[in-house]
């Protein structure tokens, strides 16, 4: 690479419902990240936002609405829909192109305003077939969970442990939405949403407005004494019809391989110090462990049993509390990246993991049962 791209700083809102106005929230978060970096709006080269406006915001072409609040007025910029980590790589590439010295990445979603996620994800389906038979993200997840449990003997307890771990971690995160100390029984005794899925195993809908400032190497070094470098990225998208896919052999493996290859990671189990993964449904975290190479296929349940992914384990996963604690649907991938950044900088406060973080992984997923995956590797 001609130059390196550094993450200079981040700002984000807490996930809980706020009665503040959306535009004002976008403005405050954008202003905060610029203030942290000590730059003016005029110094921002380009702005890339991630949003899914129509269903999550009730407004079409809404980037024109929040453009001013995101500091993008009169600037070159673009909006990306779907998995928000895509917005990150687009901004990285804009800097690598040599056209811009800095790029601001925004993820915007005020989940408290939109109806239940299932009602929205129902419209991810085609109108002729899958929508008519009632498919939504939670139905797809329940189908995937049953296959996963059947094929590998993953237990309900192992899935529930993901909730216990992540909500436990969220207690230390001031940005987390759901804060609750729970045990395995609490999870298993929570209401059955879609058998075998329990209510506590499904992510809530949260607010999440996040701003991430990127800069080319020399500028990043000038703006912060602790830039966190972009190391690698990969994404992959599976087929559209749920029935065309093998739900246990998805595209995360491919996305991770591309990211690891770019970052020069050959043994993720050893080289990734902390991972922030996107687990809208608890069991998916176990499946993603396998696809990310943290354990062998079918061993996700054993990995959580071993406590390796706890805060003090060999490979802590979701010290932030993950998506089960905070699910700003559209910006959840960028929230993973923001947390990974804080962990590398050593600025994650009470949820900072207790070892030196050189390399961190951020994962995002969008669509049904992980149709689309993106993986970003950042580090010192």
């Amino acid at each position: 690479m001609a130059t390196r791209v550094g993450i200079v700083d981040i700002a984000m809102t807490p996930g809980a419902e706020s009665k503040d106005n959306f535009l004002d929230q976008v403005y405050k978060v954008t202003k905060e990240v610029l203030d942290k970096a000590g730059i003016k709006r005029a110094d921002v080269g380009t702005v890339i936002s991630a949003a899914s406006d129509v269903f999550h915001g009730g407004m079409s072409c809404a980037n024109s609405y929040y453009w001013d609040a995101g500091g993008a007025f009169l600037k070159n910029g673009s909006r990306q829909d779907g998995e928000s980590l895509f917005a990150f790589i687009y901004a990285v590439m804009r800097i690598l192109s040599g056209s811009f010295d800095t790029a601001l990445v925004l993820g915007v979603c005020k989940g408290s305003e939109n109806p239940e996620n299932d009602m929205l994800t129902h419209f991810f389906t085609d109108p002729f077939y899958q929508r008519q038979v009632g498919l939504n993200e939670t139905v797809a997840a329940a189908l995937q969970m049953r296959e996963y449990m059947d094929k590998y003997g993953i237990t309900g307890e192992q899935c529930a442990k993901v909730v216990v771990k992540n909500l436990g971690n969220a207690l230390r995160n001031p940005y987390a939405h759901i804060k609750k100390r729970v045990d395995v029984d609490d999870v298993l005794n929570s209401e059955t949403v879609l058998y075998p899925l329990k209510q506590m195993e499904c992510a809530p809908k949260s607010e999440g407005i996040v701003a991430i400032l990127l800069a080319k190497e020399d500028v990043a070094k000038r703006l912060t004494n602790k830039p966190v470098w972009f190391k690698g990225y990969g994404s992959s998208m599976d087929a559209f019809y749920l029935g065309d896919r093998d739900l246990l052999d998805g595209q995360l493996k491919q996305a991770a391989k591309r990211a690891y290859d770019m970052a020069g990671v050959s043994n993720p189990k050893k080289e990734i110090d902390v991972a922030e993964v996107c687990e809208p449904y608890a069991f998916q975290e176990l499946l993603w462990y396998e696809d990310l190479g943290f354990c062998a296929p079918g061993e996700g349940g054993k990995l959580i049993d071993s406590a390796a992914t706890n805060m003090d384990g060999n490979i802590p996963v979701n010290p932030s509390g993950g998506v089960l604690a905070t699910n700003p649907y559209v910006s959840r991938g960028l929230y993973r990246l923001a947390e990974a950044f804080l962990q590398v900088q050593g600025k994650a406060g009470e949820r900072q993991i207790d070892k030196k973080v050189n390399t961190a992984l951020a994962h995002g997923t969008h669509g049904f049962a992980g149709q689309c995956h993106a993986v970003a590797i950042i580090g010192n």
């Binding site: 009665k19 503040d20 106005n21 009730g58 109806p115 239940e116 299932d118 009602m119 129902h122 419209f123 109108p127 002729f128 077939y129 899958q130 929508r131 008519q132 038979v133 009632g134 498919l135 139905v139 329940a142 189908l143 995937q144 049953r146 296959e147 059947d150 059955t192 949403v193 879609l194 058998y195 899925l197 087929a239 559209f240 019809y241 749920l242 029935g243 065309d244 739900l247």
Partner: protein, 156 residues
């Protein structure tokens, strides 16, 4: 404006109508439904039989113009019982969504499982199993619609 908190809250609802073109492939597929037939298409390159019928193979990216009548029996790959309702839901709960591997095909067909009492989740859990054989049950009146198949029922 409503006063639900310190600040006002505006309540909004958007309902906008669409007309969506089915095109020749869905039209022909649902024509088959009117005659109680399920059609798939075979990819000439990878030889997979895909159902519902479609105009191209997403893997090989070639036209799939070989239409095949598909068996109306298959086995359950996975299933999920939906018991809650939300705005805009076309299928009223309770219903069982399932991925069904119809005999002789290479993809899973998403449809409903039924033909027995769905009101008791415990009974449903005891009755429905992955791998179970099921068969299509048709509605008498046909609309050229995916729900012309009422559901798939367990084969006794």
């Amino acid at each position: 404006m409503e006063k639900k908190s310190e600040y006002d809250i505006l309540t909004d609802k958007v309902a906008i109508p669409y007309e969506i073109a089915a095109g020749p492939t869905w039209t022909r597929f649902f024509e088959g439904f009117r005659q109680e037939k399920i059609y798939g298409t075979r990819c000439r390159k990878c030889k997979r039989v895909l159902v519902p019928a479609r105009s191209f193979c997403p893997r090989c990216f070639v036209d799939t113009d070989e239409w095949i009548e598909i068996s109306q029996e298959g086995s359950i790959v996975s299933w999920a019982l939906t018991e809650y309702e939300y705005y805009g839901m076309p299928t009223k709960p309770p219903f069982i969504g399932a991925l069904i591997r119809l005999d002789g095909t290479d993809s899973n067909f998403l449809h409903l499982i039924g033909g027995f009492d769905l009101s008791d989740p415990e009974f449903v859990r005891k009755t429905v199993k992955n791998g179970m054989k099921v068969r299509a049950v048709w509605n008498k009146e046909k609309k050229g619609h995916i729900m012309d198949i009422k559901y798939f029922e367990p084969v006794k």
